[in-house]
């Protein structure tokens, strides 16, 4: 069972709540202080991506984020319910191609650059992004 699960409607303000929760739990799970910035940013990116996808495809559906600290690693999974139709950016950056709304390419680039380990599972029913970082303790006993 996921240790903590957060479900929120597809609004940018909630991405901040998700960042706050992820950072707090990461800290408690014993993720190194120097990695907390990366956790905050990567989780924020994954949630922003999900919010944008929902706003385009299914604004009424909630987004889910699962945070687990029971495996010796701090593991976060962000799940959206928007059909995956991403154009994976393989070619080098071309300014003209970039829109200034949310850019999936940048988002995923940031996540891959920051998470210690990332897996993306796109499917017609939605995308799961799973990220994890080393953690020194699970739930500590008081």
């Amino acid at each position: 069972m996921a240790t903590v699960e957060l479900t929120f409607s597809a609004l940018p303000a909630h991405v901040r709540t998700a960042r706050l929760v992820a950072t707090a739990i990461a800290r408690r799970t014993g993720v190194e202080e120097s990695l907390l910035d990366e956790v905050r940013l990567a989780v924020g990116e994954a949630c922003s991506r999900a919010v944008e996808a929902h706003r385009a495809h299914c604004p009424g559906e909630p987004i889910r984020i699962e945070l687990r600290d029971d495996s010796g690693r701090f593991e976060v999974t962000v799940s959206d319910q928007a059909p995956s139709d991403e154009i994976h950016q393989e070619q080098p950056l071309d300014l003209g191609m970039l829109s200034d709304s949310f850019m999936t390419g940048f988002g995923l680039a940031v996540i891959s650059g920051l998470a210690d380990d990332v897996e993306v599972f796109p499917s017609p029913k939605g995308t799961d992004i799973r990220m994890s970082w080393p953690a020194s303790n699970g739930i500590p006993t008081p």
């Binding site: 910035d37 950056l93 200034d100 850019m103 680039a109 650059g113």
Partner: protein, 116 residues
């Protein structure tokens, strides 16, 4: 931590001071400001990122969007940033090659003076 925006002109440059978090929640305000500045004929923008404590890809998107707009007028959009945590994000996304990034407003002004 919310987003604070301010701007003023120095010589031919419009300096945009940004403080706080540029993220999916606040980036739309920065986008509006940049569009507004360009619409009013300010084509040489220098965005001071020294007081930004958080930047995500939505923020990057807004900066790239601003760059596209000023370029359409032969302008420029450059950045002041020395914070490693913010620079890292530009590096990861390859955007250090797209933006001029300076260590201080003065350094940027000097480089600009030479250009023109």
């Amino acid at each position: 931590m919310d987003l604070k925006l301010d701007h003023h002109n120095e010589d031919r440059l419009t300096i945009v001071e940004v403080e706080g978090e540029i993220d999916v929640y606040t980036a739309p305000r920065l986008r509006e400001l940049l569009i507004d500045l360009v619409n009013k004929g300010n084509f040489h923008l220098l965005v001071n990122m020294e007081k930004v404590d958080f930047l995500d890809s939505t923020g990057l998107g807004v900066l790239v969007g601003g760059l596209k707009r000023v370029r359409a007028h032969d302008g420029s959009l450059e950045l002041v940033c020395t914070q490693e945590r913010i620079l890292k994000i530009f590096r990861i996304t390859g955007l250090t090659k797209v933006f001029g990034i300076y260590a201080s407003v003065d350094e940027a002004k000097e480089a600009h003076g030479k250009d023109k």
